[in-house]
């Protein structure tokens, strides 16, 4: 007997698709077949209207791909474009710049993770429909969350003047170096919230999170110096170790009828990017204070329970606060926070860790510095095949336990919780794809 069962899922918090997200599968005697996560967000064609624009406009344009992680798009773009610099930047300037960019990026991770944990995930875990209703019962927890989120936004403002679509970043540096007084004020805020972040991690660990242990490939950046955020080689826990220029030799994107978002495979297989993948690959590079906090937790990294992603986010918030303090500690401003740049014609690529995972950009420039071709692969596209695989496994386990009297509500709720672990950013996930331009 085969009955086609379509379970429509409205992913309120996580997919922000307003009725356009749906989960669909066929059920045959408790077995899931042909599971599809439908995502529809109208395409916005970023890679097309970048064509013909000057490279100096790229940071402002790509920021608009995502309001929640504009810094990730800006950082990846400038990293890619600056690889075409002739001559290179002076070394001491470059060191200063890398430090400040890492600080900016820490701000975005804190902001985005705090938003995810408190406004999106926690209400669901506690059975509230929103953080606002959760705040009536748990005011301190929600308040701590929005305070950490505000800290992240303040860090972005320090270097970018505003937290959504910041205006401080340019190819070659920052438009202006922050004033030392502003840095000192921020350092005080960071110190003050260290303890809160630590408590947040312990609280997350105390939650009764579901368990769904699965085999998957973790992909992230990695470098020798630190817990990779802004720079590194692309590695996996199964031996991949490549430069960002080699990305397309290993990762392939493809389209599925059910979704405007592209899917991506590594050597023909789904893979995971994001906080859990990063901790799985790089946990031993966390600062000693973060490692000793992590050692107190019930979870040990590497870990294969996707539901522990929320704990990974908490750990990264704490890690970012400590990193930002370190990097700003002996801050000295520069009279001019940018270098005059000249970019040679050619192809370039860049990869950084957006809050949701690996983000890859590719550009081709002509001799006048105009973009001939652009290709942007956001983390949500990369995770989509993995999300479907996870849904299949997790829902199958439940349905085999209850083949006759399963509850549709339970399937829907479980499905939403699975998807939320990936913190998908639907706006990001759609417009990118392989650019096939007729040169």
């Amino acid at each position: 007997m085969s009955n086609k069962k379509t379970v429509p899922v409205n992913f309120p918090v996580l997919s922000r698709v307003e009725g356009e997200g749906a989960l669909e599968f066929n059920l045959d005697q408790g077995r899931i077949e042909d599971l599809k996560l439908r995502i529809f967000e109208p395409p916005r064609y970023f890679e097309k209207f970048l064509q013909g624009r000057h490279y100096s406009e790229v940071p402002d344009i790509v920021a608009r791909i995502c309001g929640i992680c504009p810094v990730a798009y800006q950082m990846t773009a400038v990293q890619a474009l600056e690889s075409l610099l002739v001559p290179d930047m002076p070394e001491d300037f470059s060191l200063w710049l890398q430090k400040m960019r890492q600080v900016l990026y820490c701000g975005e991770w804190i902001q985005s993770h705090a938003l995810h944990i408190h406004l999106l995930a926690a209400p669901d875990l506690f059975g509230f429909n929103s953080a606002i209703s959760m705040a009536e019962k748990y005011p301190d927890i929600v308040r701590r969350g929005v305070t950490l989120q505000a800290l992240g936004n303040d860090i972005i403002r320090l270097l970018g003047a505003r937290s959504v679509h910041p205006v401080g970043v340019k190819v070659g540096g920052f438009h202006k170096a922050p004033d030392p007084e502003a840095v000192n004020k921020l350092l005080e805020q960071l110190e003050a919230l260290k303890k809160e972040a630590c408590e947040l991690v312990l609280w997350l660990d105390s939650l009764d999170l579901p368990e769904s242990r699965q085999e998957f490939i973790s992909v992230s950046l990695h470098n020798e110096e630190n817990y990779a955020v802004y720079q590194g080689r692309i590695i996996s826990n199964q031996g991949l170790n490549i430069s960002c220029e080699q990305y397309q030799q290993y990762f392939k994107e493809f389209q599925q009828p059910q979704s405007t978002a592209f899917h991506s495979h590594l050597n023909g297989q789904p893979y995971l990017v994001g906080p859990l993948a990063r901790l799985n690959n790089n946990a031993d590079q966390l600062k000693p204070e973060v490692r000793s906090l992590a050692a107190q937790l019930s979870v040990d990294f590497p870990d294969n329970n996707m539901f522990n992603s929320i704990i990974a986010r908490g750990i990264e918030i704490y890690s970012c606060i400590l990193t930002a303090i370190d990097l700003l500690q002996d801050y000295s401003p520069l009279a001019q926070a940018w270098q005059p740049v000249r970019l040679q014609a050619g192809e370039c690529s860049g990869a950084t860790e957006a809050p949701r995972g690996l983000l890859w950009h590719y550009y081709k420039l002509d001799k006048d510095g105009l973009i001939i071709k652009a290709d942007i692969i956001p983390p949500t596209s990369q995770n989509q095949a993995r999300i479907e695989q996870d849904l299949q496994t997790t829902l199958q386990t439940y349905l085999l336990e209850q083949p006759e009297n399963y509850s549709e509500d339970k399937v829907r709720h479980l499905g939403e919780m699975v998807i939320r672990n990936y913190d998908p950013c639907i706006s990001c996930a759609t417009h990118f794809l392989k650019l096939k331009i007729n040169d």
Binding site: N10, P12, V13, R16, V17, E18, E20, F40, P42, P43, R44, Y45, F46, E47, K48, F49, R53, D60, I61, R64, C66, G67, I68, Q111, L115, L119, L120, P123, D124, F128, N129, S130, A131, I132, A135, V142, R143, V146, T147, Q149, A150, R162, S163, V164, H165, V167, F174, H175, K176, F254, Q255, P257, S259, T260, P340, S427, H431, L435, I437, N438
Partner: protein, 272 residues
């Protein structure tokens, strides 16, 4: 009196304008005490069918379903407020209206038949009556708080569309059209191409505050003079393509900007 009901809807956009609510910090909880947020998917409230006093709309209209949905929202909402560039003028993605949207779709997607999309994208006002427009890319929390305060008091929201230059001068910023800050060639510097003279104030003159030229996030000021600005920019050494691309960025939907850009490219053709 019952608390006013509000809804926040999203169409094609980056989600950044909704963050003006979510980034309020602890004030978001205070706002929730003053109004009843019934629909705000990103924050977890889902009731798209419920009648509301105020609907805030982010994003531009890009599909047939979008058109149906925005018309329905208009029916169930006493006031409709557009939130940000996409909802008010189509935003950055309206650049596709100036190109062949179908061709772009074919070039980007190997399987274009999977994608449902109109040929062009439009602001809300093309399809429905909009009671008030909040401009910005993105809008900021201050604008939202001010707007909601006015509406709660029953006052008509105020909005001036003064030029950014006023805001910038009040802050005593150095004018980027005057100071030589841009590297033209080695050793040689020039002024930057600032859109402040035709752009509405409201952001707090953020770009000039970090020493860079305005790129027009807040839309056109009252009585803008794009041609006068473009003549000035030519005088500073910018070529037609550069000026046209500056004008046609976030608010390329505006006809006065399109007209100026067309004249610039026609002129460039004459020279060649």
């Amino acid at each position: 009196m019952d608390k006013p009901k509000i809804a926040i809807h999203k169409f094609a956009s980056c989600d950044g304008c909704q963050l003006a609510f979510l980034n309020m910090g602890p004030e978001l909880l205070e706002l929730a005490a003053m109004v009843n947020i019934v629909h705000f998917v990103e924050a977890g409230m889902v009731a798209p069918q419920e009648e509301v006093d105020i609907a805030f709309i982010e994003g531009s209209i890009s599909t047939e379903e979008d058109i149906e949905r925005i018309k329905f929202i208009r029916k169930i909402s006493r006031q409709v407020i557009s939130l940000g560039a996409c909802a008010s003028s189509g935003g950055l993605q309206a650049l596709r209206n100036l190109a062949d949207g179908d061709q772009w779709l074919r070039e980007l997607y190997p399987e274009p038949q999977y994608i449902q999309s109109l040929k062009s994208t439009h602001p809300l006002k093309k399809y429905i009556k909009v009671d008030f427009e909040v401009w910005g890319c993105p809008v900021n929390t201050g604008q939202i708080k001010q707007l909601i305060s006015s509406l709660l008091l029953g006052a008509k929201p105020q909005q001036t569309r003064d030029r950014l230059c006023l805001e910038c001068k009040r802050q005593q910023r150095v004018c980027t059209l005057v100071v030589k800050h841009r590297v033209v060639k080695q050793q040689e510097t020039g002024q930057q191409a600032c859109l402040g003279p035709i752009t509405a104030a409201g952001c707090g003159a953020l770009c000039p505050s970090v020493g860079r030229a305005c790129y027009g996030c807040y839309g056109l000021a009252d009585n803008p003079q794009p041609h006068a600005l473009s003549v000035r920019l030519e005088g500073l050494g910018f070529i037609g393509r550069e000026i046209a691309q500056k004008l046609l960025m976030i608010h390329s939907y505006e006809e006065s900007l399109q007209k100026e850009a067309q004249q610039l490219s026609a002129k460039q053709r004459d020279v060649l």
